[in-house]
């Protein structure tokens, strides 16, 4: 058994010397920083649930590399059943955290790099697959979190990597040495990067020979010399730093995280390199990682969606509006949309196939359809949630006002807290505080810190909508559909 506990994970982060910057300053104790810690808690629960018999069936798997039980986030999918269990695990974790739990990018990178290195070795006689198997065995045996990092800043979108005014706008090789390579550049929007022990870097687009210095994949420790991170801020993030912050945070315990990860001439030893100028395999690695990650969203966003729907239904109860037919219909619509996303995640998993390397890949067309729906449905779900919740979710006084003992100099002699509590009571059977709590949770999910994960990440994470449409066009096989129509219509050409 090679599973860490959640507490051991937290302690392992303290041993890292990861360089983190936020609000223009270096953060020395980032593990306990009030803005960062909720995101660490979201990763921690991926360890805690793996230890719990009630969840171990989804949270763990038997490694094909070691035969040991490992965390599913470090597993290579061995069947379509594994692919389905991945999606179910993600829904479960969305339910528990109502946040991005960040560990999926590593799992998706492992599976993409594993199969791509196998095929690259076959074509080029390289030894990347064996390198990667050794690396992943180390990750599994130590139950580590790895940021699968793909997205470069990309600078001028109209130009290729080699044609950028600043060559560092795509991460690239700056020096070849007998014992490895030196790289510079950065990866943007990196989910959970600070909370990761390691980074697994992949190229961001298909490359040509002119871009071969950018066709590079490798693994690196998060606290390696020359590597640092600049924290990405989120809407309403500083509420977490307010004294005694609880209700106004919306989700006090959990959160997501993104950062810019910068590489300033970082050395990568040979045994951690998995692509080194083989530009013809850059596109395969990108497409496979993106496919897995588009499948992922059919699980994680659905899990968060369950919480949004539950919170909206609670708000309706607390407002005394639950019996209204239009409220019931809106909850039905939200459920329909959410379960459609889950159906897509399960479908692309069920139709998965075995790669040449032996691990399983999702159905690419269905995964892209899944993600295309994810760019839309969560927006409609939060629109309906806001409709049901009412305007109070954005106009409510602060938590401090509800708790204030300050007497207002009027005839009644009530305090600010008493006035606020009196006028924001909903149904008499529910406390004003509980009404506040569910409305703040909805605010958090619809337009606060969690909206980063539930809304804009649904749009752009795992590729923006147009990227899926290109894949749907490629995979849609319109020519075969024309033949079907000809046959039915009796057209002979």
């Amino acid at each position: 058994m090679t599973l860490k506990t959640g507490d051991q994970y937290i302690e392992s982060l303290r041993e890292l010397k990861t360089q983190v910057y936020m609000f223009g300053e270096k953060v020395e104790n980032w593990v306990d920083h009030p803005i960062i810690r909720p995101s660490i808690n979201s990763v921690k629960i991926t360890y805690d649930l793996a230890q719990d018999p009630e969840y171990a069936d989804l949270m763990t798997a038997k490694s094909n590399l070691t035969g040991e039980t490992v965390n599913r986030f470090a597993h290579l999918h061995q069947s379509t059943d594994d692919l389905k269990k991945k999606v179910k695990m993600q829904r479960l974790l969305g339910n528990k955290t109502a946040s991005c739990f960040q560990r999926c990018v590593g799992m998706d990178a492992f599976n993409a790099v594993y199969s791509t290195t196998f095929e690259c070795d076959k074509a080029h006689g390289t030894n990347y697959h064996e390198n990667f198997k050794k690396y992943l065995t180390y990750i599994q045996q130590n139950d580590l979190v790895v940021d699968g990092a793909m997205t470069d800043p990309k600078g001028d979108r109209g130009k290729s990597p080699a044609d950028q005014a600043d060559p560092d706008l795509f991460l690239h090789i700056v020096e070849h040495r007998p014992d490895g390579i030196v790289v510079s550049g950065s990866k943007a929007h990196q989910t959970g990067s600070i909370n990761s022990h390691e980074h697994l870097i992949m190229p961001t687009i298909a490359m040509t020979e002119a871009d071969k210095a950018y066709a590079v994949a490798f693994a690196i420790e998060s606290d390696a010399p020359g590597l640092f991170m600049i924290y990405g801020r989120q809407s309403c993030d500083t509420r977490k730093t307010e004294p005694g912050a609880d209700i106004d945070v919306g989700n006090k315990q959990f959160g997501g995280q993104e950062a810019l990860v910068v590489f300033d001439k970082v050395f990568i030893p040979n045994d951690r390199i998995f692509l080194n100028e083989e530009y013809d395999f850059s596109g395969m690695m990108v497409e496979r990682f993106a496919g897995y990650h588009r499948q992922s969203y059919g699980g994680c966003k659905v899990g968060v969606g369950d919480v949004v729907i539950g919170a909206a239904a609670l708000a309706a109860d607390y407002n005394g509006a639950a019996k209204a037919s239009h409220i019931k219909d809106k909850l039905i619509e939200m459920t329909h949309l959410n379960e459609t996303l889950f159906s897509c995640g399960i479908a692309c998993s069920s139709e998965g196939f075995k790669t040449e390397a032996g691990n399983y890949q999702i159905d690419l067309l269905l995964a892209n359809v899944c993600k295309q729906n994810v760019t839309r449905f969560p927006y409609e779900i939060v629109r309906l949630a806001e409709d049901i919740a009412g305007g109070l979710m954005v106009t409510m006084p602060a938590e401090q006002d509800f708790k204030s003992d300050l007497k207002v100099p009027t005839e009644s002699g009530l305090t600010v807290g008493e006035w606020a509590t009196k006028y924001f009571q909903g149904v008499p059977s529910v406390t004003t505080e509980n009404r506040m709590r569910v409305l703040r949770l909805l605010e958090n999910l619809c337009l606060g810190t969690a909206a980063v994960g539930y809304r804009t990440e649904s749009m752009h994470g795992a590729g923006s909508p147009q990227a899926q449409r290109i894949m749907i066009q490629r995979q849609g096989n319109i020519a075969a559909k024309k033949e079907l129509a000809k046959a039915v219509a009796g057209i002979k050409e």
């Binding site: 018999p53 009630e54 969840y55 171990a56 069936d57 989804l58 949270m59 269990k85 179910k88 695990m89 829904r91 479960l92 339910n95 899990g303």
Partner: protein, 101 residues
């Protein structure tokens, strides 16, 4: 007699599986439905169980039981099924006990 409890992963559990399974065990123990010396435990891979109580969250009943040897199996997969599960387990136990005689 050895009874193992195996849970599914819980992605769409429509009820609190842990609480309900605990209540099933409590009822079985409190009214003396189990033969003396019966062990009830969270199932361990590779172990043999006279009865495997498989606690699932939905009708899919997807718990992976491939690594759990068992003579009899009882599934629980929906809310408000504590009493029917206890009754089902009692039937199975009686069957096991009578065949042993």
């Amino acid at each position: 007699m050895r009874i193992g409890i195996k849970y599914c992963g819980g992605c769409r559990a429509g009820y609190n599986r842990g609480e309900d399974a605990g209540e099933v065990v409590r009822l079985l123990l409190s009214v003396g439905h189990l033969p003396e010396g019966t062990i009830v435990e969270v199932a361990e891979a590779g172990a043999h169980y006279d009865l495997l109580l498989t606690v699932c969250g939905c009708t899919n009943k997807c718990a992976d039981i491939s690594e759990y040897e068992h003579r009899e199996i009882v599934y629980m997969w929906e809310p408000d099924s504590i009493e029917s599960t206890v009754a089902h387990i009692r039937e199975k136990i009686e069957g096991i006990s009578s065949s042993a005689v």
